[in-house]
Symmetry: C2
Subunit: 456 residues, 2 copies
């Protein structure tokens, strides 16, 4: 069982090499959303297999219906538990590219941060876990059996691994006691945080078209339905004036917030003014009868991720666009059924579609359902002890708004108890230009992973 000091010594001795290898990992533009980067995803997965073999694990690529799954195993000592670890090597797209201060796949340390797409989400957090495993294996201090699952489609719905889950379970790989995940955030630098909940996710694209070409807005204005205007009107039907989702039966399964959870969630440090100064706007979105923290942790959303129609260049262009499309994603909570939720959004859009234009629904994706953990469990207590030891202050129990769609499925099939501790911060700008990760948080992640893994 390693304590903080031993972990820190190991970190300081290897820090420069860790950074070098982290950067190697980040140089692969493993963007899963864009087929143009398929080869880069393959290359990234291959690099991981080599790297994991190098640290003393047996590693292989498992093919899926999509991107390959990296699987690695370390056989521990008898009478010790089996720890499953889940992470992902794929990253979000990088546009708008001109807003990046350095190239997204040319990692660069500036100040106390490393900048690159994936620097945090999830290559950075995966890297400190790999380095923790390496350290314990080198010192013969890893007692538990470890099974690593690193997928390449987390940012696009985890289809490949999700389709393979039953087979992975039957083959004996996806069997374990603990499901460790480091793909979440901490509420503030240096403050340890256990993620107690994740939202589910579904998404789709809606397109209005039918007009044969962009029309002169004078010759045709008042004749045809304007696709941009009509899509705006359609999007406007998705919420009522209080920010509540207006899709029929959408709140089925959402459930009341338990009073204990509500207290614990609202006890987490959150300050409206601080949020506004960091993000630029006040947290006044969503349903008006919940606090921002409650809205993020316990309430569903229907969000527009993109809306495009017609002319967007300089000056004016007096056209009626021939079409308009919107990309929508929805976060789910409690017992909301993902497929039903997606069907309900689709049915709502169809029911409110304008006559005189064609509505097409495409790009439908069902991620995982939501996930809720219990603060009473022994595993959570053990993690809390390690984290308090590391930070010297109380651990924050946080209900995250994000989704790791596959985690709830992995937990359910494997029977393993999830443990979600991560060291990301809001300032990391994941999914946005100039993503970065604090070197200090990377170190904390390494210390946590090493201490925790040495305790199983």
């Amino acid at each position: 069982m390693w304590e903080k000091e031993a972990c820190q010594k190991a970190y300081e001795e290897n820090r420069e090499r860790f950074f070098h290898e982290w950067k190697e990992f980040l140089r692969f533009p493993s963007i899963s959303a864009d087929p143009a980067y398929d080869k880069d995803c393959q290359d990234c997965a291959g690099w991981l297999v080599n790297h994991l073999t190098g640290i003393g694990m047996t590693a292989e690529l498992l093919s899926t219906t999509g991107k390959p799954l990296v699987y690695a195993e370390y056989k521990g000592k008898p009478d010790h538990p089996t720890v499953l670890y889940y992470g992902h090597y794929d990253v979000q797209p990088v546009d708008p590219l001109d807003l990046w201060d350095s190239k997204p796949f040319d990692p660069e340390v500036r100040g106390e941060r490393l900048y690159a797409r994936g620097a945090q989400d999830n290559k950075g957090q995966t890297m400190y876990v790999i380095k923790a495993l390496e350290t314990l294996i080198q010192h013969d201090a890893l007692n538990c059996t470890v099974r690593l699952f690193l997928e390449g489609e987390e940012e696009t719905g985890s289809y490949g691994i999700t389709a393979a889950i039953d087979e992975l379970h039957q083959s004996g790989k996806l069997v374990g006691d603990v499901l460790m995940v480091c793909d979440t955030g901490a509420v503030a630098a240096g403050v340890s945080t256990i993620t107690m909940g994740l939202r589910g996710i579904v998404y789709l694209q809606a397109t209005l078209d039918g007009i044969s070409h962009d029309l002169h807005s004078g010759s045709h204005g008042g004749m045809v339905k304007n696709p941009a205007t009509e899509l705006a009107r359609l999007v406007a039907t998705l919420h009522d004036e209080n920010g509540k989702i207006a899709v029929k039966d959408f709140y089925e399964g959402v459930g009341e917030i338990a009073e204990a959870d509500r207290k614990l969630a609202n006890a987490a440090p959150f300050n409206n003014d601080e949020y506004a100064s960091q993000i630029g706007v006040a947290p006044v979105g969503g349903e008006s009868d919940f606090t921002p923290v409650e809205r993020k942790g316990f309430r569903p959303t229907v969000e527009v991720n993109g809306f495009h129609s017609g002319y967007g260049g300089p000056g004016s262009k007096t056209i009626i666009p021939d079409s308009a499309f919107v990309k929508i994603s929805s976060r789910l909570v409690g017992q909301q059924d993902p497929q039903k939720s997606l069907d309900r959004i689709e049915a709502h859009l169809k029911a409110h579609a304008p006559e005189g234009l064609n509505l097409t629904i495409s790009g439908k994706g069902v991620g995982g359902p939501a996930l809720m953990l219990s603060s009473e469990s022994e595993l959570i207590q053990k993690a809390d002890d390690v984290l308090q030891n590391l930070s010297g202050q109380p651990t924050v129990f946080s209900w995250e708004g994000g989704s790791i769609p596959v985690v709830s499925s992995l937990a359910r099939v494997s029977g393993a108890e999830p443990l979600l501790v991560g060291f990301g911060l809001d300032e990391d700008r994941i999914h946005a230009p100039n993503e970065s990760f604090s070197l200090k948080q990377f170190e904390l992640g390494f210390l946590y992973a090493t201490m925790m893994l040495s305790r199983f």
Copy 2:
């Protein structure tokens, strides 16, 4: 006074040269909306001065606050009227470029059409007038004095010429009896059409921002107002459920449709099914208690020309966009005041703007007011005679939906009576990819212009 046969003979003898020169004119990418094409606009104007000098006019470039104005004069015989001619050498932007079958500035004849940006609007129609002038001058058959005004900012609001109108009038240039314009359309191939009305136009851009960067839609979904969703909700407030514009006092000055006008307008050939088969959708937009023809000719619009926010690439990207913008233009009718109308739209947007985001109004433009002609005038009768002679069937009197913002101002200041006859067709796809002009309609334009100009 030239009759049809003489005009046709001249056309046939010179047709290939006319096409050659028309193509030369079209090769200038004189896009006024994009400052990147400033030099090309200058070059195009310079080419026109040379060309007009070549056909026997005195021509010069008049500088304005914007693009140069091409001015050319031909001194006619005493006791003949002065004809002002107005046209424009600027064109609309060309994106999306990948939808063009040939390069927009590399004119190409395919079948009986010439394809290029500006092929019709307005370079094509300007070209047949220039060739008509050339033909009459060559044969010493041009009796009237002609003053040509070709501006370079029609597609962006005609600011330069509008600002110069009073000075042009005082210098004696903008003084005349007839204001001839060939920038309108015909209801069908071979059917002569006199345009009896044009709508006015104003435009603006509205932007919602304030968020410092694209946000993760999980970590921030339900926290902030989503700019794309909120802009959609704002756009949705612009019309009521019957397609009526919901901006306060917007219909002030619109006026009732006179019964005679309504009959004449609805007598013009228009068929819902034909429209749908040509445009792809049925003409069911706009205010539900007017016919399509009435909505186009006599009713104002507020149209979205473009709406852009967030991710638009392949697959999904689960962000809350940091901003959203919409380009809006509005067509005006009757006595609607352009400045007041623009102010009202701006005030509406501000009054309905969401809290938690910043609304910025930019790119405001005031074009001209609407213009209505009288079917009783001698000039209109004279044109009708020529047109009936050309086509062998009754002339259609058409209320167009488009705008030539500066024409009403030119008419008002000069005291000249407007005469708007053009040969454009819906199928020309002006303002859209694959703009083209029928060679047959170009010939009709030449015949009309030659006959008409020889009659003053």
